[in-house]
Amino acid sequence: MKRIALLGMPNTGKSTFFNRLTGASAKVGNWPGITVDLLSARILLGTEMVEVVDLPGVYNLHGFAEDERVARTFLEEQPVDLLVVIANATQLDRQLALVLQLQALGQPMVLLLNMIDEARRLGIQIDQGRLSQELGIPVVAISAKHGFGMGKAREAITQALRSAHPPRHADIEKTFSEDDAIEARLEQVFSDTVQVPLTATDRFSDRLDRLLLHPWFGLPLFFLAMLGMFEAVYTLGAPLQDGVAWLLEVIKRDAMEPVVAGWNPLMQSFVLDGLFDGIGTILSFLPIIVLFFLFMAIVEDSGYMSRAAFLMDAFMSRLGLDGRAFVMQLMGFGCNVPALMGTRVMRSRGLRLLTMMIIPFSLCSARLQVFVFFTTAIFEPWAAPLVLFSLYLFSFGAAFLTALIYRRRLKATEPLLLELPPYRFPTLRQMWLRGWREVTHFLREASGFILLGVVLVWALTHFPTNVPVASDQTLAGRMAALFAPVMEPLGIDNLMTIALLFGFVAKEVVLGAMAVIYGAGEGELAGIVGRNIDWVQAYSFMLFVLIYTPCLSTVAVLKQESKSWRFTALAVGWPLMLAWVASFIFYQTARWLGF
């Protein structure tokens, strides 16, 4: 099968094009370094099946970052029939350098000038024919985001593939010496083919930046925007969630209970209290998750992330980090795993490890479910969003404290050089793709080890069968009793300890486990929990959930990315200790103050 590779500088729209071309749903975002791993899909081009590979962006074939190495290793080790180079048409003065460098590899190539919509708006004129002539390769102007020029691009790729020689590996070492010659050529090709009006700046971005990057108001506005976003997710999501919970109750009562009525009680309990309540409770959070990720999609695609890096860099540098680490923290609000992978853009190992230390404190969407549940169950409606926001502040606090403590051991020595892309807004199509991605991801997780976790909780809380469910004599009860001396000073009782134990697998399991333990669906669960614990206990529990190990997937990725067991042990052990200390201080102080 023939193979084509999508290459280009970061943030030029490779993944957007990849999605258009193959119908895949690769993650897209207005931040250089969204794709950090290989992604491939197969499509029919002309008459043959072709493998298309989306690569991480590279500035230079001789770069030293992990994501650049991924791209480079791929080119060196895998035979490729055709390079499809994607360049940002508004920045050809910078981007042609990579095109010329790639040309020195001598592989067949097609150049796509992406974001032609933005180039037109800025009044940039590109003589495509001339450019194609000077470079000696096909050139097509496209807008991957809006779908313009896709037919022509497809045609050009098919054509070029047909006449391609046998696939080759790239000999990148050889091209090292040619960098200087490239520079002279770049000037010439650019001035021959591109005309940029003198005032070609994005005035909208400039004006917005004057406000959002304001020396005094920039940061407060940033935090205000965040607060606003969480408020919105909360106010819009809560009713939706109630709706789903209600629906699940109805299904349970009218469909499930009649069906299992004749079964033996243990099987009944397994199906109703274990599977249905456990999984149902987790599923009832699907609307909030989707909503949350739609907002995240807007934030990630807006270009505000890079601005956040600009605003926070001075502060982060005092913690031994840089602005990008802050952006990874923000990305971690969605899910810690891609954020941890995102650190591949960092070259210095110290900086990377330190950033990987702090990302797991980011309050991810799975933890958000737990907190939405508890804040709604325990606090007044007006206070709930504020309590939620306070947890986000703790999330930052724990991360910054950790960086302060470890910055000497994990020393960072890396220059910061970052692009500030113009502000953009995702199309409906892009938002839909993102929402769909997250739903499938969520369902895959829920049907995998979350299901396993819930079944385990059910088993442990229901055996032996001759004692009350989830009592101290059950297996789970005995396990929890072991931890009681440690957890009691935090105000966390045995039942909640069981939930925490299983929350180690994934935070979604915490709620599933509670539903199983109390034998109630999401609808009733809130009432039960509200009666069983007070707000001090609930907050102490939430602090613990916030800070301790997020989930097994993050542990696996921490190991995979650090390639060090020692670091992984530290990155799991330290938060566990911090979680205990934070909850202890909070709980004991609150009780001492008389709450």
Binding site: D93, T201, F310, D313, A314, P415, L418, L420
Partner: protein, 111 residues
């Protein structure tokens, strides 16, 4: 320019005062106070000023890094804004905007 003199053994100002005192960007104030002389590196430019890159100094890795994002000799650059507390600069290079720390900008010599 406000100053805190800690050498005379007086007690430290309160945290609030510290915040207020620390807020202005000393680097920038200092630069504004200095007699006008030609900026030598990109890091010396004030917001709104432009220059032409002459050479890029530093170790090869840093030089490659700087050049690969497009900061090459001969190109016009403008500083759009500087962030507070000695934070990074927003630099405009043709139609692209870049964020660069002053430490690295100081390696970019202007003509």
């Amino acid at each position: 320019m406000p100053r805190v003199d800690l050498s005379q053994g007086r007690r430290l100002p309160s945290p609030m005062t510290m915040i207020i005192i620390c807020y202005p960007d000393y680097g920038e104030l200092l630069m504004k106070a200095q007699p006008k002389q030609r900026p030598r590196t990109l890091a010396d430019l004030l917001p709104g000023q432009t220059g032409v890159i002459a050479t890029i100094e530093g170790d090869p890795e840093l030089r490659t890094r700087i050049q690969s994002v497009g900061l090459r000799p001969g190109r016009h650059v403008a500083v759009i804004r500087r962030s507070r507390f000695g934070g990074p600069l927003q630099v405009r290079l043709g139609t692209s905007d870049l964020v660069i720390r002053p430490q690295q900008a100081a390696h970019i010599m202007l003509a």
